[in-house]
Subunit: 209 residues, 3 copies
């Protein structure tokens, strides 16, 4: 399989997945820092936007590599799905940050802080699980991270539903309600996608362990 | 193919699909009962939430079985798509019920009743069509259920558009408008997914009949 | 492969893709005309709705053909994805036009005009790129259209974000804000899907050039 290259083809996929995961963790950290500090909002969101573009570029590299590669380390459709779902996480994190900027949010809510924390933890778990793909001995430890990602998604769901209920308790400033509902939606979607990544990884582990 | 088991591998998929369809019908019935009676809302929505979790578990079993099975009764991607799309129907029905609870809806609207009826009929059609997958003689009867599912989706679409138009006719209580738009969105998405199931089933029938 | 037919099987896919692209261009033109002229709204939207149904029918034909065909001109999953993503473009254009009708919009906004222009250009680029699928010499020119589609998507994104920011600047008539946000969402999604088509086409070109 290795042709005039010191890196076997398979390795490239693992390296790119790890790049994508690392970039997604940085994006999640960017959102958490933005919400925790709430200063230099425009500059901070601009950084997150750059990370989002970097994520697009990595996803593009994975797909291009996939189209050039005949023998892949695991099923082609799992590779494509994993690449796109990790990219979705980054996109939703960016969308949440961007909405806060576009809508000129005054101050992040307590629920937003809680959701940003869960997203951060989810991003870390995804990164750890991705790091286990490289070898068979790692694969058998993937399921425990999937269990944790499921737990985090359930937690995010509870926070999200509480946030919505609270939001609609006071509809005097309805524009505010609409803006925050969209921000919460993006954040909850990010944790949903973390769970989707867990499902793909669980399948890969099952097929190859 | 059968190894120390009285149930051939293939049968397991049909059984799980039937479980998923039966669970989805129960969820649709739960939504219809909730809307028709509108009492014990919290307890009724809790039941629908449990059915939604049960749906997740069945979908998970189908995917795990798929990852363990080498020879499948029909294309792997159709099995995965069918499992996820049926799960989506259950999820959207649950999301509609859950939104009614979170938003503390006073009273269900007439349009919600109409949509719940169409969803109920759609769920029944999906269940009937799924029951025809097991054998070749059944497959040729699948298209008629797909035609009916298309008719129901068109009907749901007309009700949904009328509901939205009516909703925005009176925007004095705009919070109410926003809440109901979301509930209607979920209900319409449920009927959309019934049509998606019909499209997958039609393909399977075409390939194997 | 050719059995009692003057048209080789492969040709049918290219012809259907070209039909789908042409229909999508007509839909985009319908939206642009609707917004530029803003008269006979009901009749114009009815025409767009008919084009949307025609798009569904073409997509259905592609999928039926795919299920009947053993050897396909390029990967089955790329054919299915391309068919559905082009159909999504048509659907989102229709959804934008339909929302303008349902919500009884007074007058299209300047931002809507700008987005309709970008959608029109995107539809033309997709049509050109689709026309290059038929032969190997064309395939190598696909990437330049993908670059252009990426540029258009970035432009649409900037217009969309500016439109949202402006919309929420004045929330006195919040019902108007909600209606326009939905219309802009549909329009932006149409350009997103143009970029998705570009990604699929780029993969196909890479695999076959």
């Amino acid at each position: 399989m290795v042709k005039f290259s010191l890196i076997p083809r398979e390795e490239i996929f693992f390296t790119l997945f790890e790049d994508s995961a690392r970039n997604m963790v940085k994006t999640a950290k960017g959102l958490k820092d933005l919400i925790d500090n709430w200063n230099n909002v425009e500059a901070r969101v601009a950084e997150i936007t750059e990370l989002e573009h970097e994520g697009d570029s990595i996803t593009h590299q994975i797909m291009a590599q996939l189209n050039r590669t005949f023998v892949t380390p695991f099923d082609r459709e799992d590779i494509a799905l994993l690449a796109h779902t990790m990219d979705d996480i980054t996109d939703f994190i960016h969308a949440a940050a961007d909405a806060m900027l576009i809508y000129k949010i005054d101050q992040p809510s307590q629920r937003a802080k809680e959701l940003a924390d869960v997203i951060m933890q989810g991003a870390f778990e995804v990164e750890k699980a991705i790091g286990l793909l490289r070898n068979r001995s790692g694969l058998k430890n993937i399921p425990e991270h999937c269990v944790e990602l499921n737990r985090l998604e359930n937690m995010a769901d509870r926070i999200y539903r509480a946030a919505l209920a609270e939001l609609f308790e006071d509809t005097a400033d309805l524009a505010r309600v609409i803006k925050w509902r969209e921000i919460y939606d993006h954040m909850e979607s990010a944790t949903d996608r973390c769970e989707d990544v867990a499902n793909v990884l669980e399948g890969v582990a099952l097929k190859h362990a």
